[in-house]
Each structure stands twice: as structure tokens, then as C-alpha cells.
């Protein structure tokens, strides 16, 4: 992996709302073909940062380059090379998954076979189902499928695993890793540190609109240990989630 090749470059990004500054001078690069995690508590400014990069929100100041396009001048070009999964998004009412896929293909101006897109996220059996009738995991997988329609260079996933059960979550991790292995850069936000540790090549911690740390998960952990940190409790070789997965099985579930 060529770590020097930045596909997204954010410099001194500031976003002010009327009486409150959501993002105060963030700078970071996302490298091509990595999974980059934005971590931090609710309200830290993760979603705002993401939506500014996605050209959905105006920034107050700063500079953002996405694959050599500037968000100020080439918003529509950026939209064509990215795939966006919003934290909360709806889909057109009364349509089934195939019809929604056709709609998005039209919106992106590309020719794709809806069934092939659904197969990528293992939803081919739900082709005729309405979005509303899907389970949480299926909804997220469908959302991810819509981000892949235009064969994007980068996809943005905003808390894709929130509210999912352990099986669905692991399932989604596999999917995200597959997508990256196919050459797509992934930017993801999450609250789950185990998820970030498993998935992300590099993570940035965002707190009160600022980045307070940015490195690979390994380095961040090593640095902490080197500073003399010790866990209160001896870590066992498995945790409760491993027990859950072991007891209930890791297999695919119809309702995941």
C-alpha cells in the first residue's frame, strides 16, 4: 500500500453554526485504498466533517481536496467519484430494492444490473422487498450497496454498524473489507473501538471539533502502553462477544 498517496486532504477545516463551532481547524489526509476511521463521542464533529467532505454541507473555512478536486469548485465531480452512506437516510417510499437500485443508477447516470448490486451485499433474496421491511443489518447492507453503484473511488460510511447485533456487525465488517480489497478507499465513523481496531488501517480521534490523535490502531495502543498504562483487569483471551458468537453461531441469518 502506497501510504504517501493522499486521496483526501483536509486542511484547517472549520465549521461554525450560529453560536457554536462544530469543527475547529481539523487537518488530516486519507490515503488511497485504506480504511480510515473517524472516532469520537457523539457531537464531536465526525458527521459534520464527513458531510462537508461529501459536499452536503458548506464549510466555514479551510481547504478540502478529494482526488484532486476541490469541494469549492468541483462538488459535482466529487459526487460522481464517491459513495455516501448517511447516518440517517430514507429511501423513496413504496419501491422495492430493485426499483430503488434502478433509481440510483439513473441518479448516478450509470448502467448497472440491480440484481448484481444486490448480490454484492447478499440481498438478492430481498429483491422484491421494500426497504422498510428489511432488518437493521439488511438496511445497512442495502445502503452500502447504493454507495457502490457508481463504482466510487471512495465510500463514506457514517456509523454503519450502530444498532446491529454481533452477527450482523461482523458480517458488515467482512463486506467493508471486501470493498477495500476491491480497490476502494473507505472512510468510516464508529463508536465501537473493537470495530475500529479490527477494520481500520488508521484512525483519527475527534473531540470537540479537533483531532487529538491520528495513527494506526497498533501504534496508538503501543504508545499508550509505553506511557505506562495498564488495564485494571487482566484481559482474557476471549470476551463476552466471542462467547455470544460462539454460542449463537457466526452463520448468516435470514433476518440479519
Amino acid at each position: 500500500m502506497d501510504k504517501t498517496n493522499a486521496i483526501i486532504s483536509v486542511k484547517d477545516l472549520v465549521k461554525k453554526y450560529d453560536d457554536f463551532t462544530a469543527v475547529q481547524g481539523i487537518s488530516f489526509d486519507v490515503y488511497e485504498n485504506e480504511i480510515f476511521g473517524l472516532l469520537g463521542p457523539n457531537g464531536a464533529g465526525k458527521t459534520t466533517t464527513l458531510e462537508i467532505i461529501e459536499t452536503l454541507r458548506e464549510k466555514t473555512s479551510g481547504e478540502i481536496i478529494v482526488d484532486s478536486y476541490s469541494v469549492d469548485k468541483d462538488a459535482s465531480k466529487i459526487k460522481r467519484i464517491i459513495g455516501v452512506q448517511l447516518q440517517a437516510a430514507g429511501y423513496y417510499p413504496n419501491l422495492n430494492l430493485v426499483e430503488l437500485m434502478e433509481l440510483f443508477a439513473g441518479l448516478y447516470g450509470v448502467d448497472v444490473k440491480p440484481m448484481e448490486m444486490l448480490e454484492k451485499v447478499n440481498l438478492q433474496d430481498k429483491a422484491k422487498a421494500k426497504y422498510k421491511a428489511l432488518s437493521g443489518g439488511q438496511k445497512q447492507r442495502f445502503s452500502i450497496a447504493t454507495t457502490l453503484i457508481n463504482s466510487p473511488k471512495i465510500i463514506f460510511l457514517d456509523e454503519p454498524t450502530t444498532g446491529l447485533d454481533p452477527q450482523a456487525r461482523r458480517n458488515l465488517w467482512d463486506l467493508i473489507i471486501d470493498i477495500r480489497n476491491n480497490g476502494t478507499t473507505v472512510v468510516i465513523t464508529t463508536h465501537y473501538m473493537d470495530e475500529a481496531e479490527q477494520l481500520c488501517d488508521r484512525v483519527a480521534f475527534v473531540e470537540r471539533g479537533e483531532i487529538i490523535a491520528l495513527d494506526t490502531p497498533d501504534n496508538l495502543i503501543d504508545n499508550l502502553i509505553n506511557s505506562g498504562f495498564e488495564r485494571q483487569k487482566e484481559v482474557k483471551k476471549a470476551n463476552l462477544e466471542d462467547v455470544f458468537i460462539n454460542l449463537t453461531g457466526k452463520e448468516w441469518r435470514e433476518d440479519n
Binding site: E54, L56, S76, K79, R80, I81, I82, V84, L86, A88, A89, G90, Y91, Y92, P93, N94, L95, E99, L100, E102, L103, F104, A105, G106, L107, Y108, G109, T146, N150
Partner: protein, 363 residues
């Protein structure tokens, strides 16, 4: 990515999706088709045909004679048989029956028959019609074999177009159907797409706002036109709704429908912009649609309204759509003949869209 982005493709994809969605939405189908059809059915069956006068035949009356035979041939007269004297008496007193006739053979020579007719004061207007019909009938029967001595009256009637209730009701219902589809449909769709963040997801794609508005507009117009054609065809084939120039008339009506719908959709954009929640959409929409429903000549000609109300009626866009529709359908007017009506709708359109652009919200 070298291929330029195709806005038309995006617009059509949206139109297709929206059309599918509308077809599956029960409320859209009910408002556009069911309501107008119910009214058309009711009025279609009510307004069958002209005046009918009920004439009872007295029990014991002779039935096989030229008088009764001739009366049976007269469209205006509806013969009531098989009622006994008491029933006839009460019906006469209530005015349900205009008169009772009793025909007897004249045993004492000429004339061959004697006909006694008893009218009722409870139904004087119909009684008068009956009187003149019967007088005419008797004259014809009596003078059948006689050459006129003074003058012979030759009567003929100009064959005019029959203006049925349906010719008034259908354009009004069509207009109202377009109004409710335009206002309610547009308001709900844009409000809910905004509320459920569907539009936000659209904005993450390269689609332009113009494409979103046009795609939705095309779908709604397409759907409303399907509804209009359906209503017109039902009216024409089941209730003899008059289409003077056949297909040309239908096409003219559809063009008028598009003009009307575009104006009404403007109201819908405004409602979707000012509504604070989903539940405030119906009341705000009703403020726009109900007065027009009542005052725009949907059910009654606005000439029948009190004079102080008429200026209000004449200010509403639906009045002009209804008016133009009736002129086109019944009088065979072309679009140029209703330019005055179209102009007023256009003025409404401009005004409405100026407001819509100001209050419409994307997110």
C-alpha cells in the same frame, strides 16, 4: 468518468420511480380517481333525462284503447298502473302523481271512448304539462281522419345537442381531481422526502435540484393525465359525456389539464414549504382546495351564486379551468378560444411560483 453526466437520464429515473410510488399509494389513487368517479356516478345516474310526469291509470279503466296506447308512446309521461284507488288518492294528495286517468267505452255511441282526467293541486306544474300533452293527443286522435278546414299546423324541432348533467359535472370533477392531486400530492411528497432524508441522500448523488423537481413533476402530471383519460372515457362511454371533436377534444382537455396541474402543483410546493409537520399539510391544503371545490363551479354554475359571492368565484384558478374544460368539451372550442381562461391561470401560475420559490425548503 469521462462520460458527461446525463441530467435527462436522472430526471427520467426519478420520474419513473415517483410514478411507481404514486401508483402504489392508496391516497393518491383515491383522490385522483375514486372521488371524482363517485361524484360522476352519482350525478350520472341522477341526471338521467328531462322531465317525467307520473300519470296513474284508475283501477277499472279500459286498457286496450287508442288513448292509452298513444299515451304509452309519449316519453314525458310515465304511466303508473296497478295501484288501487286509495293509494292513488294519497299519491295525488302528496303530488307524487300528477293526475289519474280513467278511460271507458262510450256505450251510447260517439265518441267511442270517454276519458276522465283528475289533476292534483299538489303538482300544478306537472299537471299543466300533462294537460297540454293530453290536449294535443286528443286533437291528433280526433282529427286523424279529417282534413283541416282552416289551417294545418306543421311542427318541427331543431335537433340541438343534449346538455346533460354529466356535461357539467364531469369537467368540474376533473378540475377538482387535478387540484387535489396537484396540491396534496406535491405537498406530501416533497414534505416527506425532505423529512425522511430521501432528498438528502439524493443530494449525495450528482443529481441536480432541477432534475428532482422536474422528475417529480413529470410523474405527477403523467399520473394525473392517466386519471383524466380514465374519467373522460368512463364519462363518455357510460354517461354520454359530450366530446364534440372526439380525440381532438380529449387532447385539448389534457393540455388544459397540464396547465391547470402545473399551477396547482405550485400551491403544493408552497404548502410543503410552510407546513411544520405532516399533520399540518391537510388543513393548509384544504384552505386552498375547499373554497375552490365549493366556489369554482364544480357542482353548480357560479351564475347560481349570490352576486356578492361571484367575484370571489371569478378570482379562483379552478373556475377558469372548469370553464375552459366545459367550453372545449361541450362547445367544441379550441385552446385559442379559451385563451382568456388560460391567461388567468397563467397569471395565477406566475404568482404562485414566485411565492413557491421563496418558501420552498430543500432540507
Amino acid at each position: 468518468m469521462s462520460k458527461p453526466y446525463n441530467n435527462t437520464k436522472a430526471t427520467l429515473a426519478l420520474a419513473k420511480a415517483s410514478f411507481r410510488s404514486i401508483m402504489r399509494s392508496p391516497s393518491a389513487v383515491v383522490f385522483t380517481l375514486a372521488f371524482p368517479l363517485i361524484f360522476i356516478l352519482v350525478f350520472g345516474f341522477l341526471g338521467g333525462g328531462g322531465v317525467k310526469v307520473d300519470l296513474a291509470i284508475a283501477p277499472g279503466s279500459d286498457l286496450q284503447n287508442p288513448i292509452i296506447n298513444a299515451i304509452e308512446q309519449i316519453n314525458v309521461i310515465h304511466i303508473v298502473k296497478d295501484k288501487d284507488a286509495d293509494e292513488i288518492k294519497t299519491e295525488l294528495e302528496k303530488g307524487h302523481i300528477a293526475a289519474v286517468i280513467d278511460v271507458q267505452k262510450n256505450t251510447s255511441g260517439t265518441p267511442a271512448y270517454l276519458a276522465n282526467v283528475q289533476y292534483t293541486s299538489a303538482s300544478i306544474d306537472k299537471g299543466s304539462i300533462l294537460k297540454s300533452v293530453l290536449a294535443n293527443l286528443m286533437f291528433t286522435l280526433n282529427s286523424k281522419d279529417i282534413k283541416p278546414t282552416v289551417a294545418q299546423l306543421n311542427e318541427s324541432t331543431v335537433q340541438g345537442r343534449i346538455y346533460r348533467t354529466i356535461d357539467f359535472i364531469l369537467p368540474g370533477q376533473l378540475g377538482f381531481s387535478l387540484l387535489s392531486t396537484g396540491v396534496f400530492g406535491t405537498a406530501f411528497v416533497f414534505f416527506s422526502l425532505r423529512q425522511t432524508l430521501v432528498i438528502k441522500r439524493f443530494f449525495a448523488t450528482p443529481v441536480s435540484r432541477t432534475s428532482i423537481v422536474f422528475g417529480e413533476g413529470i410523474a405527477r402530471i403523467g399520473f394525473a393525465l392517466c386519471g383524466a383519460v380514465f374519467i373522460i372515457l368512463i364519462g363518455h362511454f357510460f354517461f354520454h359525456f359530450t366530446l364534440i371533436h372526439g380525440v381532438i377534444t380529449v387532447l385539448n382537455m389534457l393540455l388544459l389539464a397540464i396547465i391547470g396541474l402545473v399551477v396547482f402543483m405550485g400551491f403544493g410546493f408552497i404548502v410543503s414549504g410552510i407546513a411544520k409537520s405532516e399533520s399540518t399539510i391537510p388543513p393548509i391544503s384544504n384552505i386552498i382546495t375547499l373554497p375552490q371545490f365549493l366556489l369554482s363551479g364544480t357542482f353548480f354554475s357560479i351564475d347560481a351564486f349570490p352576486s356578492w359571492l361571484q367575484p370571489i368565484s371569478r378570482a379562483l384558478p379552478l373556475t377558469y379551468l372548469n370553464d375552459a374544460m366545459r367550453k372545449v368539451a361541450f362547445e367544441g372550442a379550441g385552446l385559442w378560444d379559451v385563451k382568456h381562461q388560460i391567461l388567468i391561470m397563467a397569471i395565477w401560475g406566475i404568482g404562485v411560483y414566485i411565492v413557491a420559490v421563496k418558501v420552498f425548503k430543500w432540507e
